[in-house]
């Protein structure tokens, strides 16, 4: 290892830990001791990364308050040092961190809230894609409908939450007092996406969530309707399927509709 490389490794170790080895190679300034000056880098590291997490998780910050958020943020910085040159991706593991580290893991609403904010952030700058319009559907022959397959917009993401984090998110967003955190009897099935430039989310029924998940897996509309028939009134399945599809298209959730190969 070159002297330069060794020095950088020691400098970095001094920032990431309390190792003072590098101080032996640093000068005092005319007005200040070297440890105080090196401390500027140590302090800036933690505060800059915690600030990045705070910027990405404004409502989690609001929910926890300054002191608790900063303590959590510093613990996250220690557990997940940044490995990407772009600060944009630094907080991506926060939901995992909160889910698997006490005391945060004792409050599953925290990882749910972080996961929802992360999904909205990801939708905000997800890749562009064509958006299917209702008029695109008008030209499709009736006999082709059962073979239709769908491709989700790149911003669309499904998220199941075990807690009422979505209700807490909404209350915080509207400057209202959030409800008590509770674990739900069955998970809230959320669909997150970007409409034009605005990240959105809404809760799906179990039936619509099933249809969405299967549709984006490449299942054709005809089969989707057969699956819907097992959920509720079989006679209304095609109508319900068309209704969900209409909602997805008007929300800008689909980027492609294709007609599968029809056996002659």
């Amino acid at each position: 290892m070159s002297d330069f490389a060794r020095q950088q490794a020691e400098f970095q170790r001094g920032i990431l830990s309390d190792d003072d080895t590098v101080l032996a190679e640093i000068l005092d300034s005319p007005r200040e001791k070297r440890d105080a000056l090196f401390g500027v880098y140590r302090y800036a590291y933690g505060s800059r990364l915690v600030e990045a997490v705070r910027n990405d998780h404004e409502l989690l910050h609001l929910y926890l308050g300054d002191e608790m958020f900063d303590e959590m943020g510093h613990a996250y910085v220690k557990a997940y040092p940044s490995e990407h040159p772009n600060l944009r991706w630094f907080s991506k593991s926060l939901p995992d961190f909160l889910r698997s580290n006490a005391p945060y893991s004792d409050h599953p609403v925290l990882s749910d809230l972080a996961a929802l904010e992360k999904a909205l952030n990801d939708a905000f700058d997800a890749a562009e894609g064509a958006v299917v319009e209702l008029t695109d559907m008008a030209g499709i022959a009736p006999e082709a409908w059962s073979d239709l397959k769908f491709r989700a917009h790149s911003s669309a993401f499904r998220l199941d939450l075990a807690t009422n984090a979505a209700a807490i998110w909404l209350a915080l967003k509207n400057d209202e007092t959030p409800p008590e955190a509770t674990v739900l009897d069955e998970p809230a099935r959320l669909l997150i996406w970007r409409q034009d430039v605005t990240p959105m989310f809404r809760e799906l029924s179990a039936e619509e969530a099933m249809m969405w998940d299967e549709a984006v897996n490449g299942i054709s509309f005809g089969v989707l309707c057969e699956m819907l028939a097992t959920y509720d009134d079989p006679d209304g399945a095609a109508g319900r399927g068309a209704g969900y599809l209409h909602g997805w298209i008007t929300a800008g959730l689909l980027t492609g509709v294709s007609v599968g190969v029809i056996d002659s």
Partner: protein, 301 residues
């Protein structure tokens, strides 16, 4: 792609100075750092700003509003890309994924130039997201020269490198920062972004005269000035870029104009972002001072 095949050739022949022969970037006038807080005001009001500098990493994204906004800004104003993660002085292997992202963004933006900092941001797979200092040694200079050559070859253009604010000095430095920057520019062909606030900050922190730094930089290599504010801690100054430009830095700007001539100048505010009007007033001041120190009519004559 075989990354190893793109690693720098460290043979003696390859280490020979190979300055890039890119044309000197043009004089753009008086600009401002683009910040998202001002998007609407800029797009709705077309403020009289000659050009914008954008933080490259803020737009190295898959899509969405930031890139769409950037496209609209690029339709109306000259744009320069300024990065914070090139880590040109790192001893870690070059990050070609990052460089490709930078190149892709440049293809979209068509910037007048691409700049970053003479610093490193991490080694061993970690990124500290800070502009970290280096020892001014011959070993470090050889390394950074070869890295700049590699980056310039990859991007197909000469880059512009900025002096950073530093809080410490290494005891093994063999030259001054300005000697290092001068040699780096001469040997690699990179241009220099002279951050006047950073010179002021480093000079205070290390106890030298900022004019010594200024006069030690070759007059023909500087193509951009940054003007910014800082936080004074008594025994040292921290480069927070979150305050208005202070009077001492305005004075240093006058000296810089006298030495480097008319150089593209911009106000850089990174935090505590004020209303656009406040920053526009500082941009106007950069223009007025330049006009006073170097009258356009006299230049033209």
């Amino acid at each position: 792609m075989n990354v190893a095949s793109r690693l720098p050739d460290t043979s003696a022949a390859a280490l020979a100075d190979r300055p890039a022969k890119s044309a000197r970037p043009p004089f753009l006038g008086f600009g401002l750092g683009l910040r998202h807080q001002h998007y609407d005001e800029i797009l709705n009001g077309n403020p009289p700003i000659d050009w914008f500098e954008v933080i490259s990493e803020n737009y190295m994204l898959p899509g969405g509003q930031p890139l769409r906004t950037l496209d609209r800004i690029c339709e109306r104003y000259p744009v320069v890309m300024h990065g914070v993660s090139l880590s040109i002085a790192s001893t870690a292997p070059p990050n070609f994924e990052y460089l490709q992202g930078l190149k892709d963004l440049a293809r979209r933006v068509e910037p007048k130039w691409i700049s970053d900092h003479l610093c490193w941001t991490g080694v061993h797979g970690k990124n500290l997201h800070d502009l970290l200092p280096i020892p001014y040694t011959r070993e470090a200079l050889d390394h950074v020269v070869s890295r700049v050559q590699l980056v310039q070859d990859f991007l197909g253009r000469a880059v512009v490198l900025e002096n950073v604010s530093t809080y410490i000095q290494f005891n093994n430095s063999e030259m001054t920062e300005w000697e290092f920057l001068s040699e780096l520019s001469r040997r690699s062909g990179c241009w220099l972004l002279f951050d006047i606030n950073n010179v002021y900050v480093s000079a205070f922190n290390h106890g030298y005269d900022p004019l010594t730094f200024l006069n030690g930089i070759p007059a023909d290599r500087v193509v951009q000035f940054h003007m910014a504010g800082h936080s004074h801690m008594g025994t040292h100054i921290i480069d927070t870029h979150d305050h208005p430009v202070c009077e001492d830095v305005w004075d240093l700007y006058v000296a810089a104009l006298k030495r480097f001539g008319r150089v593209s100048t911009m106000i850089e505010r990174d935090d505590n972002i004020p209303p656009l009007d406040e920053l526009l007033a500082e941009v106007v001041r950069t223009r007025e001072i330049a006009e006073k120190v170097l009258p356009t009519s006299k230049q033209a004559g």
